[in-house]
Symmetry: C2
Subunit: 111 residues, 2 copies
DNA sequence: TAAATGCGTAAGTGTTTGCTTACAAATATA
DNA sequence: TATATTTGTAAGCAAACACTTACGCATTTA
C-alpha cells in the first residue's frame, strides 16, 4: 500500500481535511461534522494522512486532536516548483507569482 | 471518472513521465523506452495526462509528440503554496527554500 | 456504577486503478 | 504493393480505494 504525500492529497476529501486543519487542530468528530460521509470514513482518511506524515494526533481524554504537519507539504512543493521556471518564463506570469507570494511570505528579499 | 491534476500526479509513473517531458517533448515509444511496463500501459497513462490537461499531443507522421503543459502545474502550486507561510515561519527553512529555488530559477532578482 | 461519548477497526461492497495481451488502424519503408 | 512501425483501444484481471454498517474499547458524565 503506497503511502506518500502525493497519493494522500489526490483525494478531495483529504485535501478538505487538510484545509480545515490548516486553520486549527480539530478532533475527529469536529472534522467529520464538515462532511456528509460517515464518521468511520473520516477516521480512515485521517489514518491515511497520519500514515504519510501529514498529520499527527494528540490524545486528550477521549478526544484525539489532529494537527496538520504543514512542512510535510514541502515534498509536494519541491517537486512542483522545480518546473516553475518553465511555465513562468514561457507565460511571463512571474510578476503575478511574485506578488502572490509576497502576500504569504513578505521577506522575499532577505537582507 | 475524476481527472484533475492532483489525481494525475499521484502516480509515480506519471510523475516520471512529466519529468521526462520537462526536458523535451517525446513521442510515445521514446517515453515507453524509459519504463519496464508495456507500451499500452504508457499509452493509458498518457491518456490520463492529456485528459487533465497536463500534456498535449502533436501528430507528426505516425508519431505523436507529447508536450508538457507546465503551467497546468500551477493548480498544484497554488494549492500547496497557500500553506507555505505556516511551515516556513515555524521551521525557519526559508533559507533552504530560497537557495533551492535559486538553482532552478536563477533570475529571482530580475533587474 | 450505568449510560453516553469519542473513537478505531473489522467485514463487506461497488468502483476505480494500473497493468496485461490481443487486435486494428494509420503511416512509412522495402 | 507488401511489410514494418507507431499508436490507440478493447477485454480481462488483480489490487487498491472509498465507502458502509456493526461492533468493541476507553473515557467521561449522570
Amino acid at each position: 500500500m503506497r503511502r506518500d504525500v502525493f497519493q494522500a492529497i489526490a483525494d478531495p476529501t483529504r485535501r478538505e481535511i487538510i484545509n480545515l486543519l490548516a486553520e486549527k487542530p480539530l478532533h475527529l468528530n469536529a472534522i467529520a461534522d464538515n462532511f456528509e460521509i460517515s464518521r468511520p470514513a473520516i477516521s480512515q482518511q485521517i489514518k491515511i494522512l497520519i500514515a504519510c506524515g501529514l498529520i499527527t494526533v494528540k490524545k486528550e481524554g477521549r478526544e484525539r486532536y489532529c494537527e496538520l504537519k504543514f512542512e510535510k507539504l514541502n515534498e509536494v512543493s519541491k517537486w512542483v516548483e522545480q518546473y516553475r521556471s518553465f511555465w513562468t518564463n514561457k507565460l511571463d506570469t512571474l510578476d503575478n507569482y511574485l506578488s502572490e507570494k509576497t502576500e504569504v511570505k513578505p521577506k522575499t528579499n532577505k537582507k
